[in-house]
């Protein structure tokens, strides 16, 4: 549950509402961006997502390295997290 998973912002549906559409390995869901209200988030930005919240803004290189590391943790860690993310109904 403590993972921060890199996700790419694909859309900010309404700039007045703290939400972003993000994708992790092709799975697209909505996450809350309340914790990054001071950043100017835009499609193409990468964020670390934890329990449905964008926790921090990261660069694309950091995202790639972190994603690879999580996949390499094995034991189904990444698959479980992705399945859990996929089950989310945040809007």
């Amino acid at each position: 549950m403590c993972l921060g998973v890199p996700a790419e912002i694909v859309a900010i549906p309404d700039p007045a509402v703290p939400r972003a559409r993000v994708a992790i390995s092709g799975v697209e869901r909505t996450v809350a961006t309340d914790l990054l209200v001071d950043e100017h988030l835009a499609p193409g930005d990468w964020v670390l997502v934890h329990v449905g919240f964008a926790l921090s803004l990261i660069d694309a290189d950091e995202a790639a390295v972190t994603l690879e590391q999580i996949k390499r943790l094995g034991g189904g860690t990444f698959e479980t997290e992705l399945k859990s993310f996929e089950s989310s109904a945040i809007d």
Partner: protein, 382 residues
């Protein structure tokens, strides 16, 4: 060096290990380095980092896994909530298999209770919106990484006036247990590897009390094997340069690509408003620690499950066979527990450290150590 081929950059790892060996040979005595994040524990065992480091550096695992530090009495309280008529209990998947005195949430669900695991507290709130006739309780656990998410969720419940939602808060903060371990004197710790994700919220500043009050160096670091090796190297430099001996230990930020000194102000402000610090809170293995738990503030008390329900709140000791408490405080290694790998496995966990994949016991068990004697042989042979 059998694990080295798993590195993203074996050459960089070799260089770092070489530097570490050089510095370690200059140490006057061995040092014990405590890591306080389940993610770090996972990385260390997954990559066999303990076997790669010189003997003069001992890695010990601290109370960094939020699932692991929940005492059994609080699990029993959640089980009690789940059994109440009209209640839907929601929580993270990792909590489902944590054993209470008699059952786990999975078993209570099999017996007919409405228990659902959710990805996010916001998903729990959504269940409350969709089921206005049900009392939806979110069983919340986590350090400062996760607590802001619960805070935002409670704020939304307040704004939307959702009456059938509440939170059973078991959120905890990182500073008090570290202070308890350092003051307790039962575990010798010479330096800390600081938790990257918690630090994104609290900032590196939150760890400055360790050098200031105890002259203990801290390096906040990320989750790559190379991050952890670099953190060890940076810690060693503080020792071999004479800085620690001169009383000038400090906090360094190896994870500056993600973590800031001040942390996340929006997250900290939200937490301050939504939570109130409990006078004391029980931790598995550490007992009662003052000012270490986050209860729900007066302003949000309508969404506090402990006010809404007569939660029993009985304290329950750990199972006699389980040494989770000693593992959590670094007093023993997972394989030194009497039931490790025999009566206690990830399939049939007795203690919390074997339940969460980030727990030290599960992490150690999952990466090739089949039982205690095999583990001892492996470690002794190394």
């Amino acid at each position: 060096m059998k694990y080295v081929d798993e590195y993203r950059d074996p050459a960089a790892a070799r260089t770092l290990l070489h530097r570490i060996e050089e510095l370690a040979s200059q140490l006057e005595r061995p040092i014990a380095v405590m890591e306080i994040c389940g993610g770090h524990t996972h990385t260390i065992y997954r990559h066999g980092l303990e076997h790669l480091l010189p003997e003069a550096i001992e890695l010990i695992h601290g109370p960094g896994c939020p699932v692991c530090v929940i005492p059994m009495g609080r699990v029993d309280d959640a089980l009690w909530l789940a059994r109440q008529p009209g209640v839907t209990l929601t929580t993270f998947g990792d909590m489902m298999r944590v054993p209470g005195s008699t059952d786990s949430l999975l078993q209570v669900r099999a017996a007919g209770a409405d228990v659902r695991f959710v990805y996010s507290p916001l998903d729990a709130l959504q269940i409350a919106r969709e089921n206005p006739q049900q009392e939806v309780v979110f069983f919340a656990v986590g350090f400062e990484t996760t607590a802001p998410s619960t805070a935002v969720t409670l704020e939304r419940a307040r704004v939307e006036r959702i009456p059938n939602f509440s939170v059973f808060s078991n959120h905890v903060t990182i500073q008090p247990p570290l202070r308890a371990i350092v003051n307790g004197g039962q575990t010798r710790v010479d330096a800390f590897i600081g938790p990257g994700h918690v630090a994104t919220v609290v900032g590196t500043k939150a760890f400055e009390f360790l050098p200031e009050e105890f002259n203990l160096p801290v390096v906040v670091t990320g989750f790559e094997p190379l991050d952890i090796l670099q953190a060890v190297w940076m810690l060693l430099e503080q020792f071999t340069s004479g800085e620690v001996a001169a009383g000038r230990a400090r906090v360094e930020n190896q994870y500056a690509r993600v973590v800031r000194a001040d942390g996340s102000q929006p997250a900290l402000k939200l937490m301050e408003r939504v939570f109130s610090i409990r006078d004391t809170f029980e931790w598995r293995g550490l007992g009662w620690i003052e000012n270490s738990g986050l209860g729900i503030s007066e302003e949000y008390s309508a969404w506090d499950a402990e006010k809404k329900f007569q939660v029993p709140g009985e304290r329950v000791p750990d199972p006699a066979a389980c040494e989770c408490g000693s593992v959590l405080t670094g007093r023993i290694k997972p394989w030194e527990c009497r039931v490790f790998g025999t009566a206690c496995t990830p399939e049939t966990p007795i203690g919390t450290c074997m339940v969460s994949p980030e727990g030290a016991c599960a992490a150690f068990y999952n990466f090739g150590r089949m039982d205690r004697s095999t583990a001892q042989n492996l470690v002794i042979q190394d």
